[in-house]
């Protein structure tokens, strides 16, 4: 029945949308972690200002 196609896509849109957003959040966290690591390295190398 063709209305099942609508049902299928109706649900998958929601699942896919949320999954994509979660993936974006994960990517942002990874990028942030990398940045923080690089900052920590730079701070440990630099001498403290007097």
């Amino acid at each position: 029945m063709k209305s099942y196609a609508f049902l299928f896509w109706g649900y998958n849109v929601v699942w896919i949308g949320i999954a994509v957003y979660v993936a974006i959040l994960v990517w942002r966290v990874r990028r942030l972690d990398g940045r923080l690591d690089r900052l920590e390295q730079r701070l440990s190398r630099e001498p403290e200002p007097r």
Binding site: V14, R35, R42, E46, P49
Partner: protein, 234 residues
Amino acid sequence: MAKRSSHAATALLLAIVGVLMLGANFMVFVYAPDEKVMGAVQRIFYFHVPAAIVAFTSTFVMLGASIGYLWTRSRIWDCLARAATELALLFCLLVLITGPIWAKPAWGVWWTWEARLTTTLLLGLLLAACVMVRSYADSAEQGARLASVLGIVAALDVPIIYKAVDWWRGQHPVVFGPGKKDPLAPEMRATFLFCLLVFLLLYTLLLVLRTRIACHEERARDAAETVAARGEAG
């Protein structure tokens, strides 16, 4: 090390919510009965309506956070506002996509300019504008300030837009209405409430995560500026 454990906790929470959503899917497709008039397609309602509720709840959160930011100028409010704006936009988009997918088999048309759909469309545009302002602004502080003002203006407008379009048109299937006998069978109502609960849980989790990310990104940016300044001075 603290990072790893907080990542693990977050992943666990996401997994739990994911399982709950699978449970919701089960309830929707197996537990809830077919609707008399529209048939199987009506089941989209169980995700479409909670998504709409989340979108408008998030708009409300954005309103509060924007007022909070302008009042206190403390960053946490701005981070919360930013997260709420993004999430409201996401769920708005989900509503705007699932709505026509439901409308076509149910009403025969993809789109109609009735109150709820129109309000959601305009809200989505306004939220997109708020996000645009943040990225176009010269400085983070200016972006935060302008986005907060816009957020307040936009959120206040939403009920007005709804009422205006409602008086002008009206076609949305009213499932819950004042004085109407509740047409939902108890299994349908239970399914709906469960889906709503899961969506709200998902929203809360995403909101907390996104707010934290925003705060950390701000701090990382500040730290980077400090390190760069030290590098130049030293």
